[in-house]
Amino acid sequence: MSPADAKAHSALAPSLLTGTRLPVGRYLVVSLVGHAAFFAAIGVFSYLHLGARIDLNQQPIKASLVRLGKPRDPKLLPRIPDAPKEEEAKAPVPEPPKPEEPKSVPMPDAKARPPGNADRRKQLLSAFNRTSGAGGSRTAKTIEELEGQTDGDPNGNSATQEGERYYGQLKAQIQQRYDVSQTIPEQERLHLKAQVLVLIGKTGEVLKARLATSSGNELFDNSVLAAVKKASPFPPPPEHLRDALQRRGIVLEFRP
């Protein structure tokens, strides 16, 4: 570059068209710090205040869609709903603690004509019952599901509730096996009452079951004893009941 050129350039120096050294670095730093602080504030704020956290231990809530079909014309004569098959009801059901195995609600037979409203309700309920293990595997968990309390703490928070739940399990388990002969006269059925004293061991086995009060009908007495026998073993009693159930037992009062 010649000196003349340099001179000519210096004349242009005040022009905006010539490059000048501006303090860009300062602004950049301020901007970066500002952004970082902003996002950090959002992060801290959202962590502290906003949004639902995902609890990985929470039980999944399962919802199934069940097609109700078109309601049957009330002017038509009723149809007998197809009864659930015995094998179907007894099919093994996945255990509740394994949520990764999805349970499906059996659909009502698509070929079956939709029954009356009340019947359909029963059919649906029976479908749900089947998935929750009614008539299926008789474990503590399944019975718990059948007899769960709607207003209870899902984790159970007191010995009383635990005890009530246990008695509920016993009751449900025995009721499933509570078969009584049709030969018992109808007028007699109203008055029958039998008590059975049952001692339950700590693993849930029946140590002793004896008739404490006879109904006066031997057939009925036999039926209730058979129901206890067929329903056993029961789930292991909770800690605080263990001793009482083993030594003093529980009285089961049967009525038809």
């Binding site: 004569l77 509570y178 058979a226 529980i250 049967f254 009525r255």
Partner: protein
């Protein structure tokens, strides 16, 4: 839900109340009869067949298949001789053992009933009958067993009237409840005899006959000849006797309408009950107290079941579902009326309607056409005609539609059963 004295557990034993029993037919093992002599042995198969069918149809037993039996055939008839564990193993709760012996011209039967659970003989029934009446002996034993257990009368010594269709016409027969031991009550070449009604006192059977060309109601009393019962110049059909056998109800077709009439049992004192010109009222059936009648009427546009008092007042339509409901039969227990209806698939099936609530319950479905139900005298069973096997045959079932079994009748075409005492 969970009923507890459990809170008192610290002081005393908790009490848990359990109800909601499942009532089920009693699993019953019926051992083949044992015979004391050759004559008795020759009759035992027939007695056995009749007894087995009665118990199977009773609705209170689930009669177990003999093929599953584990006990020795020669096992004795006393509790000490019976290995109850073997009967318990096949699921039996009750065990029946019978022994037959000849006594002159009679067969004597002893029926022992054991409770398998307790291993005890509960009771023993003894009866005898003439050699040729072993089926009736079986029915008598079945009735006694039914009554002993349920304290209700059994239906097995009752009678059944029905129509048998032949190449020449239609005959009215009267038989034992199971359709066996039948006797021809009305026949004749090229004559239609239909709609039989047993007289509740057991003295005979009335029916509608076309022997003169137009329908007339005749009665056939035991030992006599069939004679006209309803004397009218109009077409008379569909007779029904009141439960006390003192009155009759029937339909008379006059001009374009058909009306229901009642009269004394001998046909006198006839009185018209319904009065709906241009409409058809037919198929009367008495309530067990004899104070009301169920009948079919098309006065609402389609044939439906109606009830009215036996003097013709208080007519009330009972069925509002379906558009072709007919042949009502009022249960001897009073609560239900069984009827035939044609559904939307044009299948004829059996239903009951609750007289008080009007609730309709279906009894048969997807088993061919089923029609003309008739209640057993104790109201627990129904006999009806079914086309499920191709020809019309008679079946029996529980009044809730369960346990449908064909009657053990000779082959033929049968319909319109009437189950009486």
């Amino acid at each position: 839900m969970i009923l507890l004295g459990a809170r008192r557990a610290t002081a005393q034993v908790p009490v848990l109340e359990i109800s909601g029993a499942n009532f089920r037919p009693m699993p019953l093992a019926v051992a083949a009869p044992q015979s004391a002599d050759d004559n008795a042995r020759s009759k035992s198969a027939e007695l056995d067949a009749a007894l087995m069918f009665d118990l199977s149809a009773s609705g209170i037993f689930q009669v177990l298949d003999r093929k599953s039996f584990l006990a020795r055939v020669s096992e004795g008839l006393t509790a000490s001789a019976i290995n109850f564990a073997r009967w318990a193993d096949i699921g039996a709760d009750g065990l029946v053992k019978t022994q037959l012996a000849s006594e002159g011209q009679k067969i004597r039967a002893e029926l022992h009933f054991f409770s398998v659970g307790t291993g005890k003989e509960e009771f023993k029934l003894t009866d005898s009958a003439a050699d040729r009446d072993v089926r009736r002996l079986a029915h008598s034993l079945a009735d006694a067993l039914y009554r002993r257990l349920t304290r209700e009368p059994g239906p097995f010594q009752s009678h059944l009237a029905f129509v048998r269709r032949t190449a020449q016409g239609k005959e009215v027969w009267v038989a034992d409840w199971d359709g066996r031991n039948g006797q021809l009550a009305a026949g004749g070449p090229n004559v239609l005899n239909v709609l039989p009604a047993l007289i509740p006192d057991g003295s005979g059977v009335a029916f509608t006959t076309y022997r003169t060309g137009r329908p007339m109601i005749f009665v056939q009393r035991s030992g006599g000849a069939a004679v006209p019962l309803v004397k009218s110049d109009h077409m008379a059909t569909g007779i029904a006797f009141s439960p006390d056998a003192k009155r009759i109800a029937y339909s008379l077709a006059v001009g374009e309408s058909t009306q229901i009439w009642v009269a004394q049992a001998d046909g006198s004192g006839a009185k018209q009950l319904t009065d709906t010109p241009y409409f058809i009222n037919t198929s009367p059936s008495w309530s067990p107290d004899g104070k009301r009648l169920a009948f079919v009427s098309n006065q609402g546009g389609s044939p439906q079941i109606y009830v009215m008092s036996a003097d013709g007042g208080g007519i009330r339509r009972l069925t509002f579902q379906g558009n072709y409901n007919q042949t009502p039969d009022w249960s001897p227990r009073g609560d239900l009326i069984a009827f035939t209806a044609r559904d939307e698939r044009r299948a004829f099936d059996l239903f009951t309607v609750n007289v008080e609530s009007g609730k309709i319950t279906r009894l048969t479905q997807d088993q061919g056409d089923n029609e003309e139900p008739t209640f057993s005298p104790n109201g627990r069973l129904l006999i009806f005609a079914s086309h499920r096997t191709g020809t019309s045959r008679l079946f029996v079932m529980n009044s809730d539609g369960s346990n449908q079994l064909p009657l053990p009748m000779d082959s033929g075409a049968y319909h319109t059963p009437d189950w009486g005492r």
